[in-house]
């Protein structure tokens, strides 16, 4: 039990002592990605090896001379694509291993844990260069990690490890050295802006809640990260759950709230499990509950699991969902700060926003303002995906350019592809192209170009990406996820999707583009909620930047990225075709005819573009013509 300030300090000291007594720690990544590639088995194997090795103890015993070793499951280590990831940490030296197999564990243990060698073959390699320490890997070295600082470094489930990393020092400082108003002030001065998409200043929001006459208030965390292709918040929830909770506790103290709610997306079972575990650990120690640390501050945390509705990422839909209603956004005013959850004043921020708070309190707003830009201090996490060398979770200072992200951190285009565009902000965002590569990214700068930072999905696209199909993809997402309340979004997105489907099917007419634009402008102006208003952005943005591609699809029935099935023509190259007839046999519709030992022919009128011929041709004689 941690009943007062002294208890907390003592616990922090004890945890730090234990932490520094490790001779070696084996850190097995247990993010969703690595679990999927089998990291649990790696963890079990290491644990078994350590247990079977005499002279090593896993428990902390201050005066025991035996080697103290830890096998820990950490949050996301960042380069998910190369998982399972394992780090071997000795003092301040850490070695990063990638694509570890169970059969590699023994070798890692013998050479890297017991010895001071490295297993070269499992090191991270980029352009022929092998990197030992994770900090050296360009993908990580060029990032600035505040929110993701601890992810991958310690046992995400362990309260003690969080304490040892400095956890709850910020909360202690806020609770004992600052008044609630001072905390709000500090956050306000830091210029922290909501990372959920809108970029509303968090401090201003907290101030508004703090000055409401109603005393029952709520602190709500939006963990309903629904943007397809974004997983930053999920990584924080599963990789550093205590930090999120600490941030919310500080917010609770600052605005005088007694209850915190975290709304976690249904598809993140691990986040739910880790957060529940963390809350139970804190409750067990009386770090959550009534009169925390012997003060007047009482705070209870609750977890709500989403049930499969993207629209619940919208503030009023999210609170409606917690209340047990359909997640339909409501009209505003009243605003959430006045009448949010159960019509009480509510602070609603997303995971990343709260995760910034402990550092701001601990190191001060002046420090925070040294990172990022004047208008948007701090960092931003992005999930970098698409046709790029290094995909994964990144965190960079606000104001970093796309060029730095894509070519320095991301390692440039995959397979030497040609950069075409980057889609930013997911279904609510737009595209940026070559001309925008040097624009410093922050909330304002890219709005001018019809894109938004949004929640932080970055999908890099090369010449193999069809922009019409990208627009169709996002539109089908927003259409499917529309709550159906307001007419513009419900009916407008449906019709926009119909038009886009028509165009990619090769049946578009030029007048469709006018209709599409007319609908997009209307939905943007008239929809009820932010998600509805931004639903047309992917279309408007691609129409503006890639109108020629749309027109090509319509007038020439051509998709130069060779993506749109209806427009692809399969052709047999007479130079390679041996006339074996396999393709004709494989064709499900009998579109291929020919004479044995002579070049076969595909009738485009009959062909259904299933690719069965191409996939099975032993001579790579079949190609696609756009």
């Amino acid at each position: 039990m941690i009943e007062n300030r002294e208890d907390l300090i003592k616990s922090q000291e004890a945890a730090t002592r234990e932490f520094s007594s490790y001779d070696c720690r084996i850190l097995v990544c247990s993010g969703t990605g690595c679990i999927a590639t089998g990291s649990q088995k790696i963890y079990d194997e290491f644990l078994k090896i350590v247990k079977d090795t005499p002279g090593i103890r896993l428990d902390f015993a201050p005066h025991d001379e035996a080697t103290h070793m830890g096998v820990k499951k950490t949050g996301c280590q960042g380069v998910c694509e190369l998982g399972p990831l394992v780090r071997v940490q000795k003092g301040d030296k850490t070695v990063q291993y990638t694509k570890v197999k169970v059969s590699d564990c023994k070798e890692i243990f013998e050479r890297s844990v017991l010895g001071d060698d490295v297993v070269e073959s499992l090191l991270y390699t980029q352009k022929g260069v092998k990197y030992k320490s994770p900090e050296e890997i360009p993908f990580i070295a060029k990032q600035t990690r505040i929110v993701l600082e601890n992810c991958g470094k310690y046992d995400a489930e362990s309260f003690d490890e969080y304490l040892a990393s400095g956890g709850f020092s910020a909360f202690r400082k806020a609770l004992f050295e600052m008044t609630p108003a001072e905390v709000v002030d500090e956050v306000d001065k830091s210029g922290l802006r909501g990372r959920g998409g809108g970029g509303f200043p968090a401090g201003r929001k907290w101030k508004q809640v703090a000055r409401q006459p109603e005393k029952e208030r709520y602190v709500v965390c939006n963990g309903d990260e629904g943007d397809p292709g974004a997983f930053m918040d999920g990584s924080v929830m599963e990789g550093d759950p205590y930090k999120l909770i600490e941030g919310m506790m500080i917010a609770g103290y600052a605005v005088g709230s007694q209850n915190g709610y975290i709304y976690v997306r249904a598809e993140y079972p691990m986040s739910v499990a880790r957060l529940r575990h963390a809350i139970a650990e804190l409750e067990k120690r009386h770090m959550l509950g009534d009169n925390i640390l012997g003060t007047d501050f009482s705070f209870h945390m609750h977890i709500n699991r989403g049930a499969g509705a993207f629209v619940c990422g919208e503030g009023s839909a999210l609170t409606a969902s917690i209340e047990g209603n359909r997640g339909m956004p409501r009209v505003k005013p009243p605003r959430t700060v006045e009448k949010g959850l159960w019509a009480k004043p509510t602070v609603l921020n997303n995971v990343e926003t709260y995760a910034n708070v402990p550092k701001i309190i601990l190191k001060g707003s002046d420090w925070y303002r040294t990172i990022g830009t004047e208008g948007t201090p701090g960092t931003k996490t992005f999930s970098l995906t698409g046709s790029i060398q290094n995909t994964g979770l990144i965190e960079v200072p606000m104001g970093t350019t796309l060029r730095e992200i894509i070519f320095d951190i991301g390692g440039g285009m995959k397979d030497d592809g040609v950069f075409k565009a980057v889609q930013i902000g997911g279904p609510s965002g737009g595209c940026l192209t070559e001309q925008h590569l040097d624009v410093p990214l922050d909330f304002e700068s890219i709005k001018k170009f019809g894109a938004i930072i949004g929640s932080g999905g970055l999908v890099v696209m090369d010449s193999h990406t069809c922009m019409v199909e990208v627009a169709r993809f996002f539109m089908s997402f927003t259409q499917r996820e529309s709550c159906g309340k307001c007419v513009p979004c419900r009916e407008g997105t449906k019709r926009m999707l119909e038009i886009l489907e028509k165009i990619v099917a090769g049946k578009g007419e030029l007048s469709d583009l006018d209709k599409l634009e007319e609908l997009a402008e209307m939905v943007k102006s008239m929809a009820l909620c932010g998600l509805g208003k931004s639903a047309p952005l992917p279309v408007l943005s691609t129409l503006k930047l890639f109108r020629d591609e749309y027109e090509e699809h319509i007038t020439e029935k051509k998709c130069k990225a060779k993506v749109c099935t209806a427009m692809r023509r399969f052709i047999i190259n007479p130079e390679y075709c041996k006339g074996c007839g396999k393709c004709a046999k494989n064709c499900p519709v009998g579109a291929i005819t020919g004479v044995r030992k002579e070049c076969y022919h595909i009738d485009p009128e009959i062909c259904i573009k299933c690719e069965a011929c191409k996939d099975n041709c032993a001579f790579d004689a079949i190609y696609i013509e756009a």
Binding site: R326, S482, V487, R490, E491, R495, E521, S525, M526
Partner: protein, 565 residues
């Protein structure tokens, strides 16, 4: 308090809760499909969106007015967007307008005309869904639903019943009952308020007009009509006469022209109701019977008690409703071969109410194995029937209704408004009918503002505690308090529809604030001009009790067992 600039003109505002009300006050009929001042603001149709001086757009229904606001209601952009919204709604809507019962009375159709939507560029791929015709009162056509949510909100917020809800989401969203069950199998009370608030033909009245026309065409049938109090103040404005003006005489005239053989006035049987209900009330008070006594005139309310507060079934007055009493008495009257004159009698009840259709079908609405009320047609259907005849209604001379059941007291007329039944009971209990007494009664609290009125009256040294409420959500509040023993009453009068029968579910739609006020006023005016104020002074009533009703009071005027549906 303040001023906002609307389309370049300054408009003062005081306590208007939203910008929309100020725009309307400024004389601009800004379009809406989902906004209704009595319901919570939904903000779904987006038609009332306006633009401010920075080009920002927002829905005026949900925007609080701020001093100095500058807005534009009809910019080129807005006109274009509104038109597109209507086009999109029509594209997902069954467009059989010419044969739709709401044609000419449909908000969507009106707006389509207003915005000049002459071409719908999108196909309707929606699967056609079956109609729900299970209810005796309303018909639901999901193919015409535009998801404005008015019915859902009225059912939940005003009526506290909540049998309708949204199901599914996005473009699959639909309004339906739980598990899409037939409405007749749910707790629906048949009040028809959903139909009043429905802007399209998605919810309409289950019509009995054809059956009535057939009866009128049959020479062997005597067709008898009874006209409820609230009907007379809701017909005139459909024919260009002033709102709320009683046109009873013209209705009698037009019904005679249509071929009704006898036209009676339900105020007559309202008097019978008061005679019986007052007696029952005093009996319960004096003999320690079940109290509070709950009024039984409103069938939607009776069903509500049956479904939601079954433990209070015995508190409901055993009196039949005025419709029930009239029909039972009339049918009995014509059972006498002398009166029958060889003709079969068909009883047609003309009501402001859709629930009356359900009441007429209740097992306890039969006498001697015969249905008392054969058909119920609502005010709305009556207006449609008058239109069918082509008669210039406004020009008709008033006629008086037929004897012996064509005359009621002023106390019977005021049944049309909330509090009327109670006021009539108080009049009955009063020792005289002087002007002063009548005024005193009107001032006792029964005509107070508000949908829940609590007051008490002295009677023989007792204090009689009364509650009058309209709107079933309010009724629920009252009943919960009674149930929790927070409140105690001797008499509770409930009308399911807010303001009483004048705003019943069968009345013409689109009644605004002025119409509502005018209908109430019209009812009280009709009372003011009535010679007889109290049921016990109605000579026709008295002669009936002394005449053929003698010994049959219980059989004809009371329900022999409780029956909610």
């Amino acid at each position: 308090m303040g001023t906002i600039t609307i389309d370049g003109r300054k408009v003062e505002f005081t306590d208007e809760k939203n910008v929309l009300s100020i725009i309307r006050k400024a004389g601009i009929d800004i379009p809406t499909l989902c906004y209704h001042s009595e319901l919570s603001t939904f903000g779904a149709c987006r038609l009332c969106t306006v633009e401010d001086d920075r080009g920002r757009t927002f829905a005026s229904c949900s925007e609080e007015p701020r001093d100095g606001m500058v807005i534009y209601t009809n910019t080129g952009k807005l006109k274009k967007y509104r038109k597109l919204i209507i086009e999109l709604l029509l594209a997902a809507h069954c467009r059989d307008c010419t044969t739709c019962v709401k044609s000419g009375n449909c908000n969507l159709q009106t707006l389509a005309h207003r915005f000049g939507v002459t071409n719908v560029r999108f196909e309707n791929y929606k699967e056609r869904r079956p109609l729900d015709e299970s209810s005796p009162s309303i018909v639901r056509d999901p193919n015409k639903c535009i998801l404005c949510g008015n019915c859902v909100r009225v059912c939940e917020e005003l009526q506290g019943v909540g049998v309708l809800g949204f199901a599914e989401r996005g473009s699959d969203a639909m309004v339906m009952t739980a598990f899409d069950r037939q409405i007749a199998t749910t707790d629906c009370v048949n009040c028809g308020q959903c139909r009043v608030f429905c802007p399209t033909g998605a919810i309409s009245i289950k019509s009995d007009k054809d059956a009535v026309w057939d009866a009128l065409a049959d020479p062997d049938t005597r067709v008898v009509a009874q006209i409820a109090p609230a009907v007379r103040v809701a017909v005139g404005d459909a024919f260009g006469l002033p709102k709320g003006k009683s046109v009873m005489g013209k209705i009698v005239n037009v019904l005679h022209r249509m071929g009704f053989d006898e036209v009676y006035d339900t105020t007559f049987s309202a008097d019978l109701t008061i005679m019986e209900e007052s007696a029952e009330f005093l009996d319960r008070v004096k003999s320690g019977g079940k109290l509070p006594l709950l009024t039984s005139c409103c069938p939607a309310w009776v069903k509500f008690v049956d479904d939601q507060f079954p433990e209070y079934r015995e508190n409901v007055s055993t009196c039949r409703s005025p419709q029930g009493m009239m029909s039972a008495v009339v049918k009995e009257y014509f059972r006498d071969p002398e009166h029958a004159a060889g003709k079969k009698t068909v009883m047609v009840s003309i009501m402001p109410c859709t629930a009356k259709k359900m009441e007429a079908n209740r097992p306890n609405s039969y006498t001697k194995g015969e249905k008392d009320t054969d058909y119920v047609i609502t005010t709305t259907e009556l207006i449609e029937m008058i239109r069918t005849t082509g008669i210039y209604f406004a020009d008709l001379e008033p006629e008086s209704s037929d004897i012996p059941f064509g005359f009621g007291s002023g106390g019977g007329v005021i049944f049309g408004v909330t509090g009327g039944v109670t006021e009539a009971v108080i009049r009955r209990l009063a020792p005289n009918h002087t002007k002063a007494t009548m005024e005193e009664i009107a001032e006792c609290g029964v005509r107070k503002d508000g949908f829940i009125r609590e007051f008490s009256i002295p009677y023989e040294g007792m204090e009689i505690k009364i509650c009058v409420a309209s709107g079933l959500a309010n009724a629920r509040k009252v009943m919960e308090q009674v149930k929790n023993k927070e409140k105690e009453y001797h008499l509770i009068e409930i009308m399911a529809c807010r303001r009483g029968c004048i705003m019943g579910g069968g009345q013409p739609r689109l009644a605004g604030e002025r119409t509502k006020a005018a209908r109430t006023e019209g009812i009280y005016k009709a009372d003011n001009v009535s010679v007889v104020k109290k049921c016990d002074e109605n000579p026709m009533v008295l002669s009936l009790y002394e005449g053929f009703l003698k010994g049959k009071e219980h059989e004809l005027l009371h329900n022999h067992e409780f029956c909610g549906k």
